[in-house]
Amino acid sequence: MRKKMLVIEDEKIDAISIGQVLKQQFPGIELEVVTNGEQALDWIQRFRPAADEMLSLVLMDLTIPRMSGLDLISEFKGHQHLGGVPIVILSGSESPQAINAAYKSGACGYVVKPNTAAEMRGVLRKTLDYWLDANRLPSA
């Protein structure tokens, strides 16, 4: 079974950090990165469910080019095969309104990006541990 994680993030440093942490913690999980809303929609359209393949997590920024992050969440949630995949937000904004809106749209988690690279790695490690640990995955 091939496991995948999708990252939707336009900030390169964050995408790279995620990649590094993922490689360290879960070397078996395949990473796919898209950097804007269009690409994300495209990815959703091209998605075909396969018996030996599963999408384990979507980690996405809320402010991405060419689409509202909230709308994108709804796209996933409304999708026949992707609706059950957990979506975790990784955002620079810590405003209560943004956090509420994200949860309302169907996000499972909300992580505020810390300021330093070291803190970021720490937060990512914990987040990925929590959501990708096979024991905790919701049965697909």
Partner: protein, 503 residues
């Protein structure tokens, strides 16, 4: 009306119907002069009232011509004869005018002359009834003079239909018309065309009738066409039988007041617009600075992040000096991060919706002290009155106190461990919180500057910091309805004292 000569009662000599009784009645009337003239105007009878009013005894006047009672000017005009002529032709004549007493003094008389005909219609004389109305006339005259003499108010009367029947000095002065010009005009003449078209003059009278008076303000037109802003009071006038006989109208020129009021209103409106513009500008500025601060963080995190990756992943491949420079880059981004964070805090305090809740002062001070880096922790003494609560926003109160304590710690005397005293006490309706250091102090001329954003009195090498901390304090305190005071002396230290509404 004419008086018919007494006709003997068919039933003869019943006492009260007798001519003698009638004569007694007439003779005893004191308030009216009642006497008879023969067709030529010679006085033929005289009663008590006549004696009292005119001063002649019957014996003195009977047989004399009644023109004796008239002033010379009336005699010259032939008035007495004319009056008899009118009475003869129409039945009676009524007049008000000056008459003479025996002593030559004048009195104001109401006079009714009625012709007396016999049964064949031949004139046998005139009955004359005279009343002395001098007192009433005096009162009326006085009243009239009073009204006529008022020059600051246009006071005039209208008949039932709204036509002008009197006109005082004030009316002449205010509207520019002489009384001869306007008597008889409809009062709508003074209204501006658009009000006339709307039927305002008619409505004014209707309202006055319905409510007992009408009060209003509006533009009116003078004779020269110029306009004035008037304050108007219209009151219906009724006679003793409550029957409407006309209206009184009092008009005042309050153009000056109106202009002043309009000006004040305009000023108020301008001010409101300006405040609104200012508020909009401020809001825009806040939004701008918020998004700038926010957007500044992303590239910063990239710089810091990539530098960190190089330091971590290529540690062995880069020379020591380059590593040191990379370290500088990381340190700089950390400083920039603090700056952006403080700016965000500063603009957030302005935009935050504040809901005032009771905040425990001791807890806020405790939290603030706990946030200090352990190695920076000063010698702190805290004196807080028990159960002290302020009305404010928990996070902001904590941040304000924290910033003040940080500030106190930072500006300690060089080489000495900082000593900070925190005091909180109730004072009337508010709570004072003092943070005192024994540090380097602030010179008088710089004391206002320290509360401004990015104002620094020292190099950041000497005293690190963003230069925003005290600006946040002042803005936070003011948003919670409080005030801040600074007492400081160079070389001796500072006391910052904030005052917040007590909860």
């Amino acid at each position: 009306m004419s008086i018919l000569a007494h006709k003997p009662s068919p039933r003869g000599s019943q006492a009260l119907e007798s001519e003698a009784v009638f004569r007694l009645l007439v003779e005893s009337v004191r308030d009216y002069a009642i006497f008879i003239l023969n067709p030529q105007g010679i006085v033929a009878s005289w009663n008590m009232g006549a004696e009292r009013i005119k001063g002649y005894k019957a014996s003195e006047i009977i047989g004399q011509h009644f023109s004796k009672f008239y002033p010379a000017e009336d005699i010259a005009r032939g008035k007495p004869a004319w009056e008899l002529k009118v009475a003869l032709e129409t039945g009676s004549y009524e007049d008000e005018g000056w008459r003479l007493r025996k002593d030559g003094s004048r009195f104001w008389a109401n006079v009714v002359i009625s012709r007396i005909l016999d049964h064949d219609g031949n004139l046998i004389g005139f009955g004359k009834v005279t009343r002395d109305l001098t007192e009433r006339r005096e009162a009326e005259q006085q009243y009239r003079r009073l009204i006529e003499g008022v020059s600051d108010y246009a006071i005039y009367s209208l008949d039932k239909g709204g036509h002008i029947t009197s006109w005082n000095v004030g009316a002449r002065r205010l509207k520019g018309y002489e009384s001869e010009e306007v008597l008889g005009w409809h009062f709508s003449k003074f209204y501006v065309a658009e009000d006339v078209a709307k039927g305002l003059p008619e409505r004014v009278l209707e309202i006055a009738l319905a409510d007992g008076h009408y009060e209003g303000e509006g533009w009116r037109v003078r004779k020269d066409g110029s306009r004035f802003w008037s304050s108007v009071l219209v009151t219906p006038i009724r006679n003793e039988d409550k029957e409407l006989i006309g209206f009184s109208k009092i008009t005042r020129d309050i153009t000056d007041r109106k202009i002043l009021l309009d000006k004040i209103q305009q000023h108020a409106q301008d001010l409101e617009t300006k405040v609104k513009e200012q508020e909009e500008m401020n809001a825009e500025l806040e939004a701008f600075s918020y998004s700038v601060s926010h957007d500044l963080r992303a590239p910063l995190r990239a710089i810091e992040g990539f530098s960190d990756i190089i330091l971590q992943d290529f540690r062995d491949k880069i020379p020591g000096e380059a590593k040191e420079f990379l370290g500088q880059i990381v340190a700089s981004t950390a400083r920039m991060n603090r700056l952006v964070r403080d700016l965000l805090d500063y603009s957030r305090i302005a935009t935050l919706e504040l809901e005032a809740t009771p905040v425990n002062v001791w807890a806020a001070i405790f939290d603030a002290l706990n946030q200090l880096e352990p190695e920076l922790r000063p010698d702190v003494s805290v004196a807080v009155e028990p159960n002290l609560q302020v009305k404010g926003h928990q996070a902001i109160v904590r941040q304000v106190i924290s910033n003040l304590i940080n500030n106190a710690v930072k500006f300690a005397q060089p080489g000495k461990k900082p000593v900070v005293e925190v005091r909180a006490f109730r004072r009337g309706d508010s709570v004072g919180i003092q943070v005192q250091d024994h540090g380097i102090g602030i010179a008088q001329q710089h004391q206002e500057r320290v509360f401004k954003v990015f104002e620094r009195l020292h190099d950041s090498d000497e005293y690190p910091g963003t230069g925003i901390g005290l600006a946040i304090v002042r803005r936070g305190v003011s948003r919670m309805g409080g005030t801040i005071k600074l007492r400081s002396e160079l070389g001796k230290g500072s006391i910052f004292e904030i005052s917040l509404p007590a909860a």
